[in-house]
Symmetry: C2
């Protein structure tokens, strides 16, 4: 969500790709110390093995400890051993001319990423559905090739794995991308560090008299700077130039992460084309909507006596998230909360990252770019969704100033994986949730975030079924299962929940909290509300692109649309024409017509069906795709910022034929060349038939956000929410939630109960010791759990407990 | 949702208006018995006064017992004493020629309803906002005037209250209705009982040879009939005639309420114009889309040898809600559930039906037509919403057969109040919820439904706020407060939840469960899916109309629209035109432009603001109205069934100037004369200014329902859902959820926690005895709690514990 310089400026860990060259990253703790801590913490996360119940009243602990997935998880990433051996092997390939990350300068090549190359679906299906061997494993490696005047980010494959001298090779990987340049795309960030210190901060330092006068601070690259400088993302790329716009921000004065609330309203334009710093040019200043082509012009105007000086945004309690204001009535009493008397009623294979809850099962994968993904989601043993995963998250701003106007973050550039921080039990997830660690590669090390994915069952505050008449009442509990992770990409916290329900439906829920990126207030009235003294809540669209590769009774599927339409109709039995309605059923026949906008008044139902396998009544079995809250597409048409880099954001639902060559709608470096991105999603649509083919549905969640005062200090999850559900529609012969025993029927007559049926459900007989439900906040770890390579096979600790 | 004859056929209590004349209603239990039962039950509902905690570990019980509302509740209905004295007084008015309900025949006048006449807002405000006296109370009485050839339903006022001979009078009430006929509308139901027994069942009995041959049963009005007959609602009213279409249904063979799943496909047309049964005419039969003008024609065809006989829908486990199928893995272990360690953290004045939770407060009212309503909803002492209430619920069907096509239920005709049955703790609401009774008038008695409204706090499964970086994590619990009731109007269970959040927002959530009304399958392919052997899931729109009378910092308000629009724009700092977006702000200036459809892509924000009271930044303080899930308007244009009876269903948001003469968008008898209904909502829109006026926002929730196999046996609440939220937008200067102490901040560095702040929140230290959380199902009462008049002032038991 934020520019790389901002991430640095906040002192965040040097995570991910761009920041590799940072040399100042935090030193790991002594090995023994961090390992002891980690082990303690992991034990806490395995909650269902501990007795959390009051003495003498232990409820049943349900989940088996020896549970195993039916197949290997082919999506779950490289083991530490694999990642380390690939890294070591790469350093042995002289032609790559690699330098270790901590030693690499602007003109060195280095390794940015070593991850599993996701196997092709066509290679996986014979394994997961049949007796074939698991697909051969390859590492997906991203190289940062800067030892050249034309630096690139380059994707290569290394394999087959395990690494064997003689058989293992590397090759450029091009097939999953629409851009056919050998897996390479230009690297606009090659000189970002020196550009900041030796160019930008020199310019901003050159007006330190003005910044001191305006805001009492400087941006000179000094330790006592109180001002930060950063700006648009992606950099402008038109006219074969690279143009930057940056602006000043106040640093917060304490640990609160409020910098994005503290813009100062002075903007700086530079031309940073090419790798020769002597050719980079200062191109002008902007203040209060007046443009000054040179520093001299700006300086002259500033000291002319007629210059209008506007105020500064300064941190205060308004920007801090701590408790403020009078304590609410009775709020110091413990609020309600959920408990799990029987522990986990689901099974997790921690080695294979596989979960079963009721009749659902799925495998988990995790990647640097997009975090958690679910694979081979089955219900009653039958696959419903092959892959359900985030693809990219766009945050497109607008404003009367060039920085807001020029900002269109494509967050997989920063990566969701590295920012999936440890979760807080009792807050992010119920206290009784199970937790799983996640790991990611950075700078020849593996980082692990303890307890960064949670799994839990929950009883909704309403039943799933209800019916009452004068003779009986029948109610069924609405117990559902959730997998969640939260990624804080700079200022914003995205919460992703995948939910499973007793009726066979699956939901994806996205929520946003954290700090907004706000604009300086001057002249921005048409782009947001003024929300503080000198602050405008910069309007922006969040559009989060997802992939759902549905397989309904096999891979041959069709997208059916059913629309409610008003009609005037005559019937054999009507003596007047009748104004009524009927259903219009149609199919999406090819990729020529498969980029859809949701129809008004929710009048169209979207369903993936298998027309070759109707139910016994001749209706197509299928799953409906139902936007449930706030789904949007991008407001901006033909965005000047994005050009062709995020075509997927322009529609609501997009259906393509599944191809191993089109695995993802985006690429983390699409922003490096918006005119010729690695993945131009529009190219997926080339007229292929979608009738009884293997379909992929690309859908968007998101929200139009016009920040208001209620977004200060943080946006709240309750209103920044978007969701979608996949629900069986004529898939089963009836409502399958009838299988649960957690229902009751009470028969009565004239006030007297004559019969109670509880269907074998177990009543809780234990006591929940609520003190034991409380998380020990001092056991929180945060984001610093690092395991250095080379790998020690005698200590494979994280390997079996993290999703990598 | 269902025709009156169907309600009768199910043996439901003879509740409400239409059914008044029924003589066979269930006899009350001996007084002593039901009172003992009721007392016991009420004690159970006052949960926070009992100690539900394990020995020696009682948590704090919070709510005070002597809590009192600041003002009388002027909306909460008549006391039993008032209702009884009005009833007695009316029987003393000879000119009304009243007969007691149980004795009344087709040609007698009787009383259908005695309720509080809701006071005018203009009379209430000086009381609730100032020192004026409470408005004078009047009873709203509905008379069923059938001792005439032109029978009417007639609304009158009786008052002032308390009844005093000499000062109390009655008068027709006309001012709240657009129809100006002295509060009277024709009564199409006057002869419904004799029409059924002496006319319809005679016709259906006349083909008992055919019904026996087709389905093995008869509809003759005999005790051993296995077939029911009922049909369209409202009755067709065109050409100055009254036309009925009825159809046959199998009775269920057990207590399950499955009749609406058992249509049989033979339809019967009759002309029932006028009160002279000798002029009612049989007009034809329809079977398999072939119309037979006479019984002779039908009989001839049936025995011709060429008649195609289709199958019958017969009850089976597919239509029963009990547990079915293999028990799910681990499902017999107790699932998670919520507990409330501190009891209620809110206050209820049971006498005045007033609630305070955190900084919210509101009064509750309850009516026969629409059930629970909330009044004078305040936050931090300032009114946000004067009235938030259901107005009407439409279920508009369509089909190739005349019964589905002719069905457009206006459910307030049946009433939501009488069907708000007792709730089941642990299912409808958390086990620890507080419950309130509701009461309603019928046949000179007061009925009370024990525990039919629930109040509870809940911890959502996700936080309200989250932010994490490399130095700290800050999270805030999302505790919200809910008021809920569930009304089962025939086949469908509607759940209504009013929710209050820490950020100041208020939500309305509607869910539907229960039995669908299905169609016979033949020839209905264009109107639904075939979902069982001979069954079609008849497509229908649920549109539930609500009223939100917002008062933002007083009653002078304006509706502002803010729309995201794509633009191409030049800026002083841009060297190319830029494709971007901006905000378009506008106001709804008059009732000429105030009936709105939601714009595509959710691009418009709707806000009620007070332009005279901007915040310190010059932005208007207001509340946003945000449809959050599945809000729709009616698909059908100019419905032949509804004509002018439900204009409110045709739009998404409708804004009017508040008037005491326009208190409600509907009337329970609108269906009695669809060409000239009591309330023609379109008449509210007469060009009045909406600029800084007292505004009422009429909004719709609902869903397009195309039932599928997953709706058998019951529709589930998870998918049949619609919601809206009212959220502060620039109303406060920041996010007010910062007030709660239920948040945590953890500071850390390199894996070590350096500081934990918990802001005075209390950790639970007690144990929750989960067995004590379990509801004793045998204490359920159901819908039979009757209190006969005359009133006994020595036993005012329900009066203080029910909302009436």
């Amino acid at each position: 969500m934020l520019s790389s310089s901002f991430l640095r400026s906040l002192g965040l860990l040097a995570l991910g790709l761009l920041l590799l060259a940072d040399s100042g990253q935090s030193a790991p703790q002594p090995k023994a110390a961090w390992m002891r801590g980690a082990r303690t913490r992991l034990a806490k996360s395995s909650k269902w093995n501990s007795n959390r119940w009051a003495n003498g009243s232990a409820c049943v602990e349900t989940a088996p400890s020896d549970f195993q997935a039916p197949k290997e998880n082919v999506w779950s990433g490289l083991t530490n051993w694999e990642a380390a051996s690939v890294t070591r092997w790469l350093f042995g390939q002289a032609e790559l001319n690699l330098t270790r990350s901590e030693d690499a300068g602007n003109w060195d090549n280095s390794i940015l990423l070593v991850e599993l190359m996701l196997p092709n679906k066509t290679d996986v299906l014979p394994y997961v559905d049949g007796d074939a061997a698991a697909p051969t494993r390859y590492a997906h490696v991203v190289l940062d090739l800067r030892a050249t005047v034309n630096p690139t980010y380059t994707d290569i494959l290394v394999g087959p794995l395990p690494v064997t001298n003689g058989t293992t090779t590397w090759q450029p990987v091009e097939y999953p991308y629409t851009r056919k340049t050998g897996g390479s795309i230009r690297n606009l960030d090659a000189d970002s560090d020196t550009m900041q210190t030796d160019f930008i901060l020199k310019i901003t330092g050159s007006i330190s008299d003005i910044t001191l006068d305006l805001w009492g601070g400087t941006a000179m690259g000094m330790d006592n700077d109180t001002l930060d400088v950063w700006g648009i993302d992606p950099v402008w790329q038109y006219d074969n130039k690279l143009t930057r716009w940056d602006t000043f921000w106040n640093y917060p004065t304490d640990e609160f992460d409020a910098e994005t609330l503290l813009p100062l309203g002075l903007f700086l334009k530079t031309d940073v084309t090419g790798r020769d710093p002597s050719k980079w040019k200062m191109k002008g200043w902007l203040y209060n909507d007046i443009f000054y082509p040179t520093t001299a012009d700006f300086r002259k105007a500033y000291y002319s006596g007629n210059f209008t000086k506007l105020g500064a945004n300064v941190e205060g309690d308004w920007a801090r998230t701590d408790q403020q204001g009078p304590v609410l009535p009775m709020d110091t009493a413990t609020p309600p909360g959920a408990v799990a008397p029987s522990g986990a009623r689901y099974s997790v294979d921690h080695t294979r990252k596989y979960v079963e809850w009721m009749d659902f099962s799925f495998y988990m994968g995790f990647s640097r770019d997009t975090g958690l993904a679910l694979y081979d989601i089955r219900h009653k043993g039958q696959r419903i969704i092959y892959e359900l995963s985030l693809q990219e998250a766009l945050a497109h701003y607008a404003g009367n100033d060039p920085v807001q106007s020029g900002t269109a973050y494509l967050d997989s550039y920063y990566g969701f994986g590295p920012y999936a921080f440890e979760l807080v039990p009792g807050y992010d997830c119920p206290a009784y949730a199970s937790f799983v660690n996640t790991s990611f590669y950075v700078s020849e090390t593996t980082h692990t975030h303890i307890n960064s994915v949670c799994l839990f069952e929950f009883d909704a505050d309403y039943p799933i079924q209800s019916h009452t008449n004068s003779a009986y009442t029948a109610k069924t509990k609405n117990i559902y299962f959730t997998v969640r992770f939260v990624a804080t990409v700079g200022n914003y916290d995205y919460s992703f929940s995948y939910e499973f329900y007793l009726d066979g439906s699956i939901r994806v829920e996205v929520r946003a909290s954290g700090y907004i990126q706000a604009a300086y207030y001057a002249n921005n009235h048409d782009y947001g509300y003024q929300i503080h003294d000198f602050l405008s809540g910069s309007m922006h669209d969040h559009v989060l692109g997802f992939k759902a590769d549905l397989d309904i009774l096999g891979t041959e599927n069709t997208m059916e649309l059913t629309t409610n339409v008003p009609v005037t109709e005559n019937y054999v039995w009507s003596d007047h024409p009748r104004n009524t309605m009927k259903l219009q059923r149609s199919f999406i026949e090819s990729e020529d017509d498969s980029r859809l906008f949701y129809t008004g008044n929710g009048r169209t139902q979207y369903r993936v069906v298998n027309t070759a396998k109707p139910n016994k009544y001749g209706e197509y079995r299928g799953y409906r795709i139902l936007p449930s809250d706030g789904t949007i597409h991008l407001t901006v048409l033909n965005s000047s910022n994005l050009v062709d880099a995020a075509d997927w954001a322009n529609y609501d639902l997009m259906i393509t034929k599944q191809k191993d060559t089109e695995p993802r709608s985006a690429h983390p470096y699409n922003g490096q060349d918006v005119y010729d991105p690695m993945v131009r999603f529009g190219d997926f649509f080339n007229g292929e038939s979608l009738t009884q083919e293997d379909l992929v549905v690309w859908f968007n969640l998101g929200m139009h956000h016009i920040p208001h005062t209620g977004d200060l200090p943080n946006t709240v999850f309750t209103t920044a929410h978007s969701g979608i559900q996949f629900m069986p529609l004529n898939y089963y012969d009836g409502d399958i939630s009838r299988q649960t025993v957690n229902m009751v029927r009470i028969n009565y007559d004239k006030g007297n109960v004559s019969e109670v049926k509880t269907f074998g459900q177990k009543e809780a007989t234990c006591s929940a010791d609520l003190a034991k439900e409380e998380f020990d906040f001092y056991s929180y770890t945060g984001d610093v759990v690092i395991r250095k390579f080379p790998y020690d096979p005698n200590d494979p600790y994280f390997e079996t407990d993290s999703i990598v």
